[in-house]
């Protein structure tokens, strides 16, 4: 490998190796990230016999270094000599799988799962499975939690004797003393079930699932819900009722709101897994209960699922179920005491109109929309407004416009600037759906008022909003309605408003086109170059730079150039700077 005389190519590697233990974490991290370079230089033999043993014992390091190490080792097979030697990577990953930091352990497990695929069936039984067993029977729960994630990858590839052992180990971990391990087992139960033979799913997994779902710890039970969904998807329809449903029903009525929350949160997946019949008979009443739950968190989670749940109901009975079972609950939620519940509902309720069709929407949903549009919490109103497009498709927005307008006006004047910002962002959408006439009549003045809001973020958003409106309604509309008002602000006594004129011109020049820009905007900008406030003057320079490309060259040479040259001799440093920048960008020098 190395020559007798010093070898220049070794130096960078030598630095990398030494920096594996540098005081500076960043340097150690860099070295670890280049571990493959080091291994390549050492060759497969020395990597196996020297580098890996060293790495196995370096688990004292910072989390980020260990995380990088765990990740690197997952793609190290070639560097230790190929699949034949892949088991050499197990010791360092085993020690990483026992550290207390969850992200590091998870990464080590991920890498172990990855390299398990590179083991031959024989190596898997000789090297990998013993490691899994060691972790599974380790003294500390960190190692036992890591083991839970490894059963699934070895199970399909080992002999039936070993399979039996693996099942036994998994069973043991499901009844571990520490909740940490039971949680890990509970969260991997679904995944493990997927690789098991159906008979064993029924004989092994179901009892474990039932036990975990009635664990004394809430945190274990709620993870079992997710496992239940996966298991339900594996079983034939006729077994679901006996094997899974009693437990899931019990979870939906668990004493702990966190478990019920989990059921609500996983409801769509559950619905998919159990199929239409059980959905009709079991899930509909369960969903009703969740929508009426006494804990607001649960109602919020359930409210979020209203649309998806209804969409996935079997077509033959969809409308009936919604109208007779779901809608009454939804009506109650509209006047819930908790704002998060109402807000979650408002974000999905509009979606029901496409499912129910025009007549039902007008008769049943519209009144609800109108109530929510008047809700005391701005977030609820915003959520309704942001989803108007669904209703528009079904019944047209006009049905709503009478209530919409006061709602929008109120949000537009809300004391919280974030609320005002949110409604501005929906303006272009509303304008498109309400049409230019309605807009001019009712909303235009709002859009102009935002330009002189006392919060910069609002003025900025208002400027951007104007541009989008012009894109929708066209340049002619702009010239007639907004350009005169914007330009009028150039004479305002407040310099912030004068600057807003410039910002608007920046945004509008391109969409308005050359004619309007040259004829109407440019003269105003040029006139402002003599403003007494330096901030206005340098924004004139920036504005000219921005609108320059829209102008024709004669206007540039005849009108813009002299003004910029004058600004370039301004006594204010910033004005000079931006003027010179504009001159160079527009190539006017």
């Amino acid at each position: 490998m190395a020559g007798a005389e010093g070898d220049d190519s070794l130096y960078p590697i030598a630095v990398l190796i030494d920096e594996l233990r540098n005081e500076d974490v960043q340097l150690r991290l860099n070295s670890i990230k280049k571990l493959s370079t080091i291994a390549l230089a050492l060759g497969v033999e020395r990597t196996r016999t020297e580098l890996l043993p060293f790495l196995t014992d370096t688990i004292y390091d910072e989390d980020e270094v260990l995380l990088a190490l765990a990740e690197q080792l997952g793609s190290f097979t070639v560097l230790v000599g190929g699949p034949e030697f892949v088991h050499c990577l197990l010791p360092p990953l085993e020690s990483l799988a026992t550290v207390e930091e969850t992200v590091v352990r998870d990464k080590a497990v991920e890498s172990l799962r990855k390299i398990s695929q590179e083991h031959s069936p024989v190596d898997l039984e000789v090297h990998f499975v013993p490691l899994v067993k060691r972790l599974a029977s380790g003294d500390w729960f960190t190692s036992r939690t890591s083991a839970c994630g490894l059963f699934g990858v070895c199970y399909p590839r080992v002999s039936s004797t070993v399979k039996a052992e693996i099942r036994q180990h998994f069973r043991t971990l499901c009844s571990d003393d520490t909740p940490m391990v039971r949680r890990a087992a509970s969260s991997k139960l679904g995944e493990f079930a997927k690789v098991l033979e159906l008979d064993y799913v029924k004989s092994d997994i179901i009892p474990l699932f039932t036990a975990l779902a009635s664990d004394e710890q809430d945190s274990v039970r709620l993870l079992a819900v997710e496992a239940g969904v996966s298991i339900a998807a594996l079983l034939p329809q006729e077994d679901l009722e006996d094997l899974v449903m009693p437990t899931l029903r019990q979870a939906a009525e668990d004493k702990s709101w966190r478990v019920r929350y989990m059921v609500a949160d996983k409801f769509s997946e559950l619905q998919k897994a159990v199929g239409p019949e059980i959905t009709k008979n079991d899930l509909v009443p369960a969903f009703q209960n969740l929508l009426k739950d006494c804990e607001a968190e649960v109602r919020t989670a359930a409210a979020n699922k209203v649309k998806v749940f209804c969409e996935s109901l079997p077509e033959d009975s969809r409308e009936t179920i919604i109208m007779t079972h779901i809608l009454p609950c939804v009506k109650e939620l509209v006047s819930d005491t908790n704002q998060h519940v109402k807000s979650a509902l408002a974000s999905v309720i509009m979606g029901l109109s496409t499912i129910l069709g025009k007549d039902n929407t007008v008769e049943h949903l519209l009144p609800l929309f109108l109530v929510q549009l008047k809700d005391e919490y701005p977030e609820v109103r915003l959520n309704i407004i942001s989803n108007l497009d669904c209703v528009n498709e079904v019944i047209g927005i006009r049905q709503l416009s009478q209530s919409l307008l006061p709602a929008i006006v109120e949000l537009a004047e809300d004391a919280k600037w974030r609320v005002r910002l949110a409604i501005i962002e929906y303006m272009p959408l509303l304008a498109g759906q309400l049409g230019v006439e309605f807009f001019d009549e009712k909303l235009n003045s709002l859009c102009m008022a935002w330009l002189i809001d006392h919060v910069y973020a609002i003025r900025e958003a208002a400027t951007c909003n104007l541009m989008k409106l012009v894109e929708k309604f066209g340049a002619e509309w702009a010239q007639n309605t907004i350009v005169p008002k914007v330009l009028g602000m150039a004479n305002d006594s407040n310099y912030l408003h004068r600057m807003t004129t410039l910002f608007c011109i920046n945004a509008l020049s391109e969409v308005c086109g050359q004619e309007i820009t040259t004829k109407h905007m440019l003269p105003v900008v040029l006139k402002m170059s003599t403003d007494q406030v330096a901030n206005v003057r340098f924004n004139v320079a920036r504005c000219l730079q921005k609108i320059g490309p829209v102008l024709d060259s004669s206007a540039l040479q005849a009108e813009v150039k002299p003004v910029l040259e004058k600004l370039a001799t301004d006594q204010d440093m910033d004005v000079k700077y931006f003027a010179l920048e504009a001159i160079s960008v527009l190539a006017l020098a």
């Binding site: 005389e5 070898d7 207390e100 729960f141 710890q217 702990s256």
Partner: protein, 482 residues
């Protein structure tokens, strides 16, 4: 006993315990002898420990005052925190044949600065470094973890051992001299060599910015995943792995602070029901909450309160009924509370009145006025259970601490001081006398030293070893070894 009994030592502890309490049953008269007086005296002077650590003067300062004491779940480690923000961890000596008398002695294992004084510039508020509470986490790997808190910030510390270090550089020789890069002809991979044991303490997580008021308690949940931190008005629930988010589970802050009549004084999780916790208040009540019923536990599911005796009512009634500490028994069946003059045991199935009430220093009842004037009446005494929930311990003044046997109803007053007891000698019971006649060995109420108070004590989870913090000194007492 506690669920996390250590695998190795529990046998011996149990034997010790059995014999201890068997003798108690046989001869009630001699019980105090066998149970308490035989506590062997082995004192640790934290000043000495701190000398080598930070301070080079031999007198104790305010910063040396111990502010919390806590055994870990096996009793192998004992942690103390002090007003100077330091945490000192002691480890129990392994039993050795050469020095049998050293069995059970605790020596310094690790010392570190947990909190530093800070200044909140937004509120113009000084934040003391004083460690208010320490709680150990269940052991998860070879390292030990503890939570320590001052008024505002909870920190998770890892205490780990290292006994190997890497040797061999490419670009340096053994003495650290830089090698000429052109002479490098081969690469060297560092090799790990044994070295002297080194104990390191590293901060793993910092949980901050969640408390407007002063944190008085932290408690780790039996789910091993969450803990709660409690201040005067609110209780927050944290995931041990997430520092940027906590959930408020109790909030008693009134909309108008002028309507404030009650503050939270302590809170603790049930030892094995992960959804149950209790908190105590300055009005002498204890509320038990069930986290299953709702996300916000403002509505308690049980309220433990003793009706006030109108004949005993005085200006000080409310102050002395304020609960300074609440502890679940190891079994989870009982609650112990400490107020200014008493320790009470409550059955969690009976809310109307305590099951047992023990007088800690009833002779102070006549002196409440002067105790109030000197602010001593606001001292916050803590209380602890022994491993089998049969004996209670709490502190008093004049370096006295009290133990109460729940079965025999006998009690004893002991003193933690260097002047009045010798190392490895048996402790003598002390007696305070009220009124004129003072017998030999008795001390008069009027000569009690109120500046010497024992606020913090700890009991080994399954042996008769106790740790008592008396201002800047930590005393460890244990059963007499045959």
């Amino acid at each position: 006993t506690s669920a996390a009994a250590p695998p190795v030592t529990s046998q011996t502890c149990q034997t010790l315990h059995d014999s201890l309490f068997q003798s108690m049953d046989l001869d009630r008269g001699t019980w105090i002898d066998s149970a308490f007086l035989s506590l062997r005296f082995s004192e640790l002077d934290t000043r000495k420990i701190n000398n080598s650590f930070l301070r080079d003067h031999s007198y104790a300062t305010e910063a040396d005052i111990i502010s919390t004491v806590e055994f870990n779940s096996t009793g192998e480690l004992l942690a103390t925190g002090d007003k100077g923000g330091r945490v000192v961890v002691f480890q129990r000596e392994q039993e050795s044949k050469n020095q049998p008398h050293r069995r059970g002695e605790y020596n310094v294992y690790s010392t570190f600065q947990s909190h530093e004084p800070e200044f909140d510039y937004l509120k113009s508020l000084e934040i003391e470094e004083k460690i208010n509470k320490i709680r150990w986490l269940p052991q998860q790997n070879a390292a030990y973890f503890l939570l320590s808190t001052n008024d505002k910030t909870v920190k998770l510390w890892k205490i780990s051992e290292r006994d190997k270090r890497p040797e061999g550089y490419n670009l340096k020789d053994e003495e650290g001299r830089i090698r000429d890069p052109t002479t490098i002809t081969s690469l060297r991979v560092p090799v790990l060599r044994p070295m002297d044991l080194m104990v390191e303490a590293t901060p793993r997580r910092i949980f901050s910015n969640a408390h407007t008021y002063h944190i008085n308690s932290i408690s780790v949940n039996s789910d091993y995943e969450t803990y709660m931190s409690t201040d005067d008005l609110r209780i927050n629930l944290w995931n041990l792995e997430i520092t940027n988010r906590s959930f408020n589970i109790v909030d008693i802050k009134p909309a108008n602070m002028e309507e404030l009549t009650e503050v939270i004084t302590a809170a603790e999780f049930h030892p094995n029901q992960c959804n149950t916790f209790v908190y105590s208040s300055s009005k002498g009540s204890i509320r038990l909450c069930d986290m299953r019923t709702s996300a916000l536990c403002d509505n308690h599911s049980k309220l433990f309160e003793e009706p006030e005796d109108p004949s005993n009512r005085s200006f000080f009634s409310e102050i002395i009924s304020s609960i300074s500490d609440v502890k679940f028994s190891h079994s989870g069946r009982y609650l112990m509370t400490r107020d200014y003059l008493t320790v009470k045991v409550w059955d969690i199935n009976m809310e109307s009145r305590p099951l047992e009430t023990y007088q800690v220093h009833d002779y102070l009842r006549s002196k409440l006025c002067s105790l109030y004037e000197n602010d001593f009446i606001f001292d916050k005494f803590e209380c602890v259970w022994n491993g089998t929930d049969s004996v209670l311990m709490t502190g008093s003044y004049n370096n006295f601490f009290r133990m109460f046997d729940r079965n025999t109803k006998r009690d004893v007053t002991l003193e933690a001081s260097r002047e009045n007891s010798k190392p490895r000698a048996i402790l003598k019971p002390r007696k305070v006398c009220v009124g004129g006649k003072r017998r030999k060995d008795e001390i008069s109420v009027d000569s009690l030293d109120f500046s010497k108070k024992i606020l913090h004590t700890a009991w080994h989870p399954n042996e008769n070893i106790i740790a008592v913090a008396a201002t800047n000194n930590l005393y460890i007492f244990q059963d007499k070894v045959n």
